[in-house]
Assembly symmetry: C2
Homo-oligomer: 467 residues x 2
């Protein structure tokens, strides 16, 4: 499909054969060349075709990752880091073959410091496992991309999700990383201090680099106290536009929303069918507030007043933990709900993020395109950040429909860039958005390329992704 | 003095002469080679000796900066960006000569977007000028390093200051930058979207790079609504230790402190003398809360309870804008107050930042060193971030005293690094902390060097600083 950039340099057959041989001897059964394992490690959740690695190694320590990397460095063999395989943009594909390093056995939580509000852990810990571990201490890690992704993968893609409007993205919640670089060196990107002016921000350079500059093998993440009070609710609006405008107003008023999620009527229908919920199928906002009882009370009143101004219904408040979990579980399963809505179709995720002043305009022009092109494409979004996903559900064997979806996506990304936004708010570039990255960044793309060439001169770190 | 790294490659006399000639012709009176102008543009607020540039150009646009850079690129001539000259670490010195680009005529606020809570502006705008401009719109820019620095300089050093505990540092409050790179290209680091996963984080790479990777010529910064209620206060403690421990507890409890500043008894005496204030000369915390009336009320009550637990006095609350301004003005003038305390002395700024769990220990071991070595060194700090400044006031012609100050500072930085902290929380590296940067970052320093070599292969961008 024309949307993704799958091409790259040719395979280095001799180097790969030699490296696989060495690594098989070294890692024994933890180095697998079986077809099904290799298929699992190229599987992505997207329309992008699978490209298999030549071997998969289940690494257990930073030193092992460094050792594998040194072998691959010597023989110029690609390395593709692998977590839960929930990338939406082909991030774990192996276009030139090479070694997939599965990091899911590196799943230890090494130290929780309640005093410093941070945790030191390995990249294979998932966000749900971390929060399970933290619960007794009254702490949590807020970033929540929906999927129960590995935290290493979330760092690598600069993930965010529903809570980012309040707690920031992975960019804001990583204190320090341990990274294995292209020559097998081990680099600690920063100290554990809350802030620093000590040289270049290597931590932020690695966050979002999708394995193309180094492999993350240990992390220090910021934690937050579980709020005393959490209140969620649903508010229906007469139109997607009205819901966007209420969001803009809430953000402008400085309401510290913990979550503010847009769903259009079609998305609500998909969700009701899949998750057996019974929300009115009208455009709505799923919202949540965190704080002390008094401050949550203030916030909910302020929001209700804003919603009313834009024609919103009175808000259905949800306070019990059980009901709240059900509501957000339904939200998290949105991707599966969409796919179930049109059996046999493939959902093509888009990830536009614009300055919030442009949100209503960007969403409504996109929805107009969807209608004009006769596509089926639910809308869902983290609208407090100006980020929304319009996902055409496409029968991939219908060339005409595929072409119409391409047109819609092309126009969406160009519109987003023209409005001062980005083609990817949280999914990452992978193979799927390389062309748009070039359009979005212009001369900045050349700077990214220079950094990539400097830190990975042989282009072995997850080649064919990002730049 | 041994603390700073002043050495570097030799001067490129021919290249400099040629470039100065070309630039004088091009910029006329805006290119000055007069001694006093050159002295002003190497003046730093520190013990580090001045090293003069060969010419100073007052630039007026991104295109002019690019033009100057292309000339310097061709002739391999150093470029040193200059703002208000308030660097504490020799950031504006010209160890190999070259061209100082004064950016203070680029002082336009180009666009305020209240909807997007951001502002587009030039680097020569100072933080006070920006806040003056914003006041009528109910917005403010929170980062406040004390000095009325230029915002470009604050981006370049990743500045922070008193409000960072609540609002983050410059790292967290820059949306996008326009940067002129070493070959004279103009790069926009990011879109105006609130979040992005579009490739490497060029914005964060430039924030804190101190002019060594590029010259910042335009910026988009994040704004915040002026809080409905602001309440400040002062609370005395029986010891510095007790004040640190109260801070740790307040942070752990998730109290959203807007400011929490430690002053030791000596610092309070300096301040009272200089600013004609009358605070009790005991260790104390200057605190501030932002929010709605109800939430500020909750916060002040919670803090009072914590302070009491650690032997703090009842808090002297300050609500009137006038009194509050006086209190924080005194805090901001701390550096001048220290110098006035010992006429003829030079204050050597230190900038340790440790995980907050280590704060009390790090401060008390440092104070013990100060006493053992017979130094005079007030303590002041942004303790909510684990960041504190112990500044020996040194008679620089007393070799023995200088040596004792060096010993104290060396031990402080090594202690800080050993405790998982950083040698510079907010001042930057400049010439003063290069040696400690190497110690702190180890293999990470080599990665910084590789980035520097890739983006500035001829080492013309503020050479002799940071890496």
């Amino acid at each position: 499909m024309a949307l993704a950039d799958l091409d790259d340099a040719a395979r280095n057959e001799d180097g790969i054969a030699t490296a696989v041989n060495i690594l098989k001897q070294r890692f024994g059964e933890r180095c697998s060349t079986g077809q099904s394992i290799r298929e699992q490690h190229s599987h992505t959740m997207t329309y992008i075709p699978a490209q298999l690695p030549d071997a998969v190694i289940f690494a257990q320590s930073t030193e092992e990752v460094a050792e594998i990397t040194r072998v691959c460095h010597e023989h110029h063999v690609p390395i593709i880091p692998f977590g839960t395989g929930t990338s939406l943009e082909g991030g774990v594909n192996a276009p030139n073959g090479g070694i997939s390093i599965d990091l899911m056995q590196m799943d230890k939580i090494l130290e929780v410091s309640a005093e410093d509000l941070d945790v030191t852990l390995q990249p294979g810990v998932t966000r749900e496992a971390l929060n399970e571990h933290l619960r007794d201490q009254g702490l949590f890690f807020p970033i929540d991309p929906g999927a129960n992704a590995s935290l290493g993968g979330m760092v690598a893609t600069r993930a965010s999700g529903t809570n980012a409007v309040r707690y920031g993205t992975m960019r804001d919640n990583v204190v320090s990383l341990t990274v294995v670089t292209a020559d097998g060196s081990i680099v600690k990107t920063a100290s554990r201090a809350r802030k620093s002016s000590a040289g270049y921000d290597l931590t932020r350079l690695m966050v979002g680099s999708e394995g193309t500059l180094g492999i993350i093998t240990e992390m220090v993440l910021r934690l937050h106290g579980i709020p005393e009070t959490i209140t969620s609710g649903v508010c229906q609006f007469p139109s997607v536009d009205a819901a966007c405008n209420a969001t803009i107003m809430a953000m402008q008023c400085g309401l510290p929303m913990a979550r503010i999620e847009l769903l259009d009527a079609l998305m609500v229908r998909c969700m009701n069918d899949y998750s057996k919920t019974s929300f009115a199928d009208r455009p709505c906002l799923f919202i949540e507030f965190h704080g002390t009882p008094a401050s949550v009370d203030e916030q909910t009143q302020s929001f209700a007043a804003i919603a009313e101004e834009f024609g919103g219904t009175s808000i259905d408040w949800v306070s019990s933990t059980e009901e709240r979990s059900k509501m957000w579980k339904a939200r998290h399963d949105a991707y599966y709900a969409m796919l179930a809505h049109r059996p046999g179709s493939q959902g093509i995720a888009t990830d536009a993020c614009v300055p919030i002043s442009k949100l209503a305009e960007c969403v409504s022009e996109t929805v107009a395109d969807v209608e004009r092109l006769g596509l089926i494409a639910p809308v869902i979004g983290h609208v407090g950040d100006g980020n929304f996903h319009v996902s055409p559900l496409v029968m991939m064997d219908d060339a005409d429909e595929v072409a119409r979806a391409e047109e819609m996506i092309e126009r969406l990304n160009l519109r987003t860039i023209a409005m001062g936004g980005t083609c990817t708010g949280e999914h990452g570039v992978g193979q799927g958005k390389r062309r748009f990255l070039r359009l979005e960044h212009g001369t900045g793309h050349a700077m990214m390329r220079a950094i990539k060439d400097a830190l990975d001169p042989n282009n072995i770190m997850n080649p064919g992704k990002v730049v």
